[in-house]
Symmetry: C2
Subunit: 363 residues, 2 copies
């Protein structure tokens, strides 16, 4: 499989939802497979909150596997023998595209909190510029899970002439008040870490603890009661026996701390704040008054899939979207994937996902 990693450097300003402008932004992206002569076999993959452009294959340098490698590749559900697959890092992130940890070209200093607030729409508008740059007139499909699903939905709404298929997995048209609460407490834990320093931390002293707390809160919401019980239960750490001390007693405690510590080594705290804000702001029902209004002018077919045990973005909202699309006489397939893995199911249930994505793309 031909894998390429590149950076699209835009000299054009991007007008943002806030009315602000992002100047000279970069978009880091990877491609897998080859664009055909008709340029009609391109699939855009959109990543989740903390994802990156590295969706498939093993990166030789970091030796890390792409986050959806089980689904994207030769003869896999998203078949790179047939499709030209693109995954771009969202603006606002810290994984290669322009974000708060990038240099502001006007000041030659790191943006930090001078980076403008961005929305899912802004991410998608930037992706559109990348797709234009690649001279692709119309995407065969746009596919994403979680925050990536929000981007996929936005593509179908904002660029109806440029998308043929939209697959939105484990996503929602607006995050619930409960999900919003977890997001806001995560942001609070970062901004109340004294190292955050109003965003002006330096590289040697970032707000690691606040960011780790945010990640740990997030991580709990990505799992399910069932998967946590099966994987960890109330099991104790080896040798620990209700330590009666201030130490890590439980396996789940150790696991969460490990996840927090690992995450902060490769993620920028300000980026997390900006992306979390974008996620919180996303609200098709508010933006278009009704969900029906939002989807009215879409011109593609839809695959809406939820995870049965996902309590962060519960199946009900996906069902609501599917029903709305049906009422509008749009071409929509809905599937509630039976899985104990909670929200993370969209990364774990690759076989079940493949079983619905593959036929959807072959139609």
């Amino acid at each position: 499989m031909l894998r390429k990693r590149d950076v699209f450097k835009s000299n054009q300003p991007l007008i943002l939802s806030s009315g602000n402008t992002l100047h000279n932004y970069d978009i880091c992206y990877e491609t897998y497979g080859t664009l055909n002569q008709e340029k009609n076999n391109a699939i855009l993959i959109c990543h989740a909150l903390t994802g990156s452009a590295h969706a498939a294959a093993i990166d030789k340098e970091s030796k890390s596997k792409g986050w959806w490698d089980s689904i994207i590749g030769p003869n896999k559900a998203i078949d790179t023998n047939r499709f030209f697959v693109i995954c771009s890092n969202v603006i606002g992130s810290c994984k290669g595209s322009t974000g708060p940890a990038s240099i502001d070209p006007r000041t030659e200093k790191i943006y930090k909190t001078n980076f403008p607030i961005i929305t899912i729409t802004d991410m998608v508008n930037a992706q559109y510029e990348l797709i234009k740059h690649l001279e692709i007139p119309c995407l065969y499909a746009v596919i994403g899970g979680s925050m990536g699903g929000m981007q996929a939905l936005s593509w179908s709404i904002k660029f109806p002439k440029h998308v043929n298929r939209c697959a939105a997995i484990a996503c929602t048209s607006q995050i619930s008040p409960q999900a919003l609460s977890f997001a806001t407490v995560g942001r609070y834990s970062i901004t109340s870490d004294p190292n955050w320093n109003n965003g002006n931390y330096n590289e040697t002293n970032p707000p690691l603890k606040g960011l780790a707390t945010a990640r740990m809160i997030g991580h709990i919401t990505y799992l399910s009661q069932e998967s946590m019980s099966k994987k960890f239960g109330r099991g104790l750490q080896k040798k620990a026996d209700y330590g009666y001390k201030f130490k890590t007693d439980f396996q789940i405690e150790s696991y969460l701390e490990y996840q927090g510590d690992k995450f902060v080594q490769s993620f920028d705290a300000n980026s997390y704040l900006y992306l979390s804000k974008a996620l919180s702001y996303f609200d098709l029902e508010k933006e278009y008054k009704t969900l029906s209004n939002a989807f009215k002018k879409t011109n593609c077919s839809f695959l809406i899939a939820s995870i049965s045990s996902d309590w962060l973005y519960p199946a009900e909202n996906s069902q609501k979207m599917a029903k709305t699309l049906m009422k509008l006489n749009k071409d929509v397939t809905y599937c509630n994937i039976e899985s104990p893995h909670g929200h993370d199911g969209f990364l774990i249930e690759s076989e079940k996902l493949s079983n619905i994505i593959k036929p959807y793309l072959e139609r």
Copy 2:
């Protein structure tokens, strides 16, 4: 109604579950009503994680209402015309009983993390000493919600000859791995606040932000998806209109921050850690091998009540306890209170609670 507030000062050491000893401890308690001559009308009320001895009536000094005033009082469900009601602050707390913010009599310094780790059993053993001190041979009932319910269950198990009725509301025989996770992340946020300083903070510089984060996480778990949606939805703060700034945008965000800020003004961070640990350790199934073993030697009647929308301590566990008690041929009444208020329902649904507690006490 006769209300008294007092402190029981024990000169006897309390041997703890850990094998450690607590010396010269105080128990702050309030009583409502009058102990009869037969001394058989006493009801012990057990409070939740952050509760206090002030369960009923309005405190003249602080002007605050007791946390279960809607249920305890003259002619109320727990009728102080008939019963002598006692509510004691648990050891480990910071509301008058000995805890990590108290002076260690041996060193004449504040305990801080030299305070020994305590368990629900230890709290109950200390309460037993108070009841002995009050010369009450047998409690008419012990009643508690949430962590208070755990204490009530422990009373029925540890002191079968000294309890006639046990009402455990919105509680569980062991907190789930998910609830455990939220508790551990709360503790992580406190201990990773640099002001915590291994527990050696001084009064002027406590880890307020870490404690506020822990409280906010807890608060989300005390509400339900439904109650949050009804009360706040995705509503914005007045004048805020997707601020596109790093400020508090959403009503629920503002509410949680307010709850966090308010809480830290009156709660000690080390106390929170100790009580949260006690909650996490509580596990009747581990301690007695099986739930059936735990309840085998109990000698009282039981009222087990859950809240239908409580996802922190789901109804399933209360049902499991009720079934286990039935199989053991114990006298048990179970009720799942229909309520949208989540775990907090045990503080809010006073009418529904009164409707089951009153007849239970009159039987």
